[in-house]
Amino acid sequence: MTDDLIARLAADLEPTPRHAVERRILLSLLMGMLVTVLWAYLVFDLMLGRTFGGADSVAMFWTKFGYTLALGLLGLAAAPVLVRPDGRIIWPLVGAGLLALMALGSGTMMWMRADWPMDMLMGRTAMVCPWLIVLAALPVLIALLAAMRRLAPRSPAMAGLAAGLVAGGFGAWVYAFYCGETGMMFIAVWYSLGIGLTALLGAALGRTLLRW
């Protein structure tokens, strides 16, 4: 029985390219981003009437650009390790947490100096911002989870969390091009919330989808 299985598996053997896992993840991220960019244009520009590059303050635009991209890249550092059966890595997730804390800290400082005006926290879009980030992140999350189904994560939930962090970071990065908010506290709270929700969604989906 087992001998038959070995013979069949050996007959089915095909060469595995080097860095196959990393390539698989990057390729799915690329495909997800293509869909996200089109999807964001469709929803944010055509349906919601936001203009591309609509940030009022250049400095704030670059802050959003850097913050979201950094979170996405931290997720991308964790993902290829967490999808392996013997993969353990913690620093990117700790790093993401610290980065969010730093954003909250500096946001609070700026908010305090301006004597706590409510619109610095809420802007005009606080109630939709996290949801739109999740929406923008969905294509990337779906592509990553689909690619990871062929892999073998030690913990499916952790691998899903990493996928969610990548999707959330890159989704929010695309969203930033259509977002006119300028408050540091706004970014620290609502962007982080959107990215965090995507990461949690990834973990919940990963728990069932990434079983092997």
Binding site: M1, A10, D12, P15, T16, V21, P85, R211
Partner: protein, 183 residues
């Protein structure tokens, strides 16, 4: 020492397999079977002993379909142990089996192998290197791994009689060499 030797040997086979070498792959999988069978058997109560073979096959299948996740720069035995452990935990949960060993107290896959204990196996390897590789393999299969002569002969594509003769001559030669003459 023994573990390092196992690691080197299996890792070499795995790297060749990843490059598409079917013969190395076949050898790798049958060697893994030899380690995996006792690994799972130890962990199951006698009532569930029949699950061991399923688990061996599940693990081989996972090695096959998930081989992409082996990082060439890392130890192979650690990866294989992680795969086997994952399959065991998964199987135990799904079938609500009570394992005989607490999951935390998880000796690695390569702590023991099927044919004999580690030191004896090294001796056997050394002794068998004196006869031709085919004869050595026939002796190993029939006398150590419990295959029948017919099975061993079929694996080498020879007739049963030829295999018998080959084994007999091999053992005789070894006896002459190590027992100081025929007995």
């Amino acid at each position: 020492m023994q573990a390092d030797e196992t690691e080197t040997r299996l890792r070499t086979l795995m790297l060749a397999s990843l490059d598409g070498d079917a013969a190395a792959y076949r050898q790798l999988l049958s060697e893994l079977t030899r380690y995996l069978r006792p690994y799972f058997a130890r962990r199951l109560s006698p009532a569930h002993a029949s699950h061991a073979e399923d688990l061996v096959q599940d693990t081989l299948l996972a090695v096959h379909t998930r081989r992409m996740t082996y990082d060439r720069a890392r130890p192979f035995t650690a990866w294989l142990h992680a795969v086997a452990h994952h399959k065991f935990v998964d199987h135990v949960r799904r079938h609500a089996i009570r394992p005989t060993v607490p999951l935390e107290d998880d000796a690695p896959v390569f702590a023991a192998d099927d044919s004999a204990n580690a030191a004896d196996r090294l001796d056997v390897d050394a002794v068998l290197s004196d006869v031709s590789p085919r004869t050595a393999d026939l002796i190993r299969q029939t006398r150590l791994e419990g295959a029948s002569i017919a099975e061993a002969a079929a694996r080498h594509g020879m007739t049963e009689t030829a295999a018998k003769v080959s084994i007999h001559r091999g053992l005789k030669a070894l006896m002459a060499r190590f027992a100081g003459g025929e007995k």
